[in-house]
């Protein structure tokens, strides 16, 4: 298999916690460059969850 294929993330999905900024966002951008869709879960999103 070619090395380009080894790095290809087409069709893959990634879940990145803390993905709204900083390192998490940078990692998400790297995934986007290799054609994955990234779903980021940032700390702010957690804080907005209703408390039970």
């Amino acid at each position: 298999m070619s090395v380009k294929k080894l790095f290809d993330l087409s069709g893959k999905a990634a879940l990145i916690t803390g993905g709204s900024r900083g390192l998490g966002l940078r990692i998400a951008e790297g995934g986007r460059d290799t054609v994955s869709r990234s779903a980021g879960a940032g700390a702010d999103a957690w804080l907005r969850l209703p408390l039970k």
């Binding site: 070619s2 090395v3 380009k4 080894l6 790095f7 951008e29 460059d33 290799t34």
Partner: protein, 258 residues
């Protein structure tokens, strides 16, 4: 910069020792596919020609250099030959190596010296020469040393006693850390790959003797394959690893993690 650009090796040149087969050829394929011109060295001209033809079929420009790294005086002329052809060396992979199996109490001194000379002294001399003639003046370089998981721990004597090999690879591990620190300000990164057990001419005797033991100790329950070093070699050869130096990364199916 896009991550694709970070991994792009267009315009780069690589020198890979022991590049005619096995791990060296696998890494030459990876770097060549990403745009690098590759110079491969080995002792046997016929094997180099075969490797060069293989790379050519993949559209990779290569240069072959017959060289015996046991002969220290041959290293500088070899580097000069590559520089004459390519103009620069951006990436150096110190891959050539050898192993010797014998109990420590009976290990021949000449075999010890041969293993230390090829596995540790030659990478030092090559790095020194390539650094001085090309990387330091150009303020750019990526050095990849092929260590081994045998350089991270001792080897179970029931598996195979290889004291010289373990000692030499342990030396490569700390050579990597030390050179990485020393040349960081020259924009030269120095990192090491510590492969586990990959089928090769060198490892054949060991695998024949202890394949079941290796499988039992490897969480992934398989030996290394033809593509297993490509990704890490490309990472360490490219600007994607610009902030990494002095690191040793195992590629061993989890062998060293348990």
């Amino acid at each position: 910069m896009s991550v694709k650009k970070l991994f792009d090796l267009s315009g780069k040149t690589a020198l890979i020792t022991g590049g005619s087969r096995g791990l060296g050829l696998q890494m030459a394929e990876a770097l060549g596919e990403m745009g690098a011109k590759v110079a491969i060295t080995a002792r046997k001209a016929a094997e180099l020609e075969e490797a060069s033809a293989h790379l050519s079929k993949m559209g990779i420009e290569s240069l072959t250099v017959v060289n015996d790294l046991q002969v220290s005086d041959s290293i500088k002329p070899m580097v000069e030959d590559v520089l004459k052809a390519f103009g620069q060396i951006d990436i150096l992979i110190n891959n050539a190596g050898a192993a010797w199996g014998a109990p420590a109490e009976d290990h021949p001194l000449d075999a010890w010296q041969k293993i230390i000379n090829l596995n540790l002294t030659a990478p030092f001399l090559l790095s020194q020469t390539v650094g001085k003639l090309s990387m330091i003046p150009r303020k750019y370089g990526k050095i990849i040393n092929i260590a081994s998981i045998a350089g991270l721990v001792g080897t179970d004597p029931g598996f195979m006693p290889t004291i010289a090999y373990n000692s030499s690879k342990g030396g490569v591990v700390n050579f990597t850390r030390s050179l990485g620190a020393e040349w960081a300000t020259h924009n030269i990164t120095v990192n090491a790959i510590a492969p586990g057990v990959f089928p090769s001419k060198m490892s054949k005797g060991m695998i024949d003797r202890a394949e079941q033991y290796i499988m039992d100790q490897t969480p992934m329950r398989r030996l290394g394959g033809d593509e297993d070093l490509k990704g890490l070699a490309l990472l360490l050869a490219s600007d994607a690893s610009a902030y990494m130096t002095g690191q040793i990364i195992a590629v061993d199916g989890g062998f060293s993690s348990v």
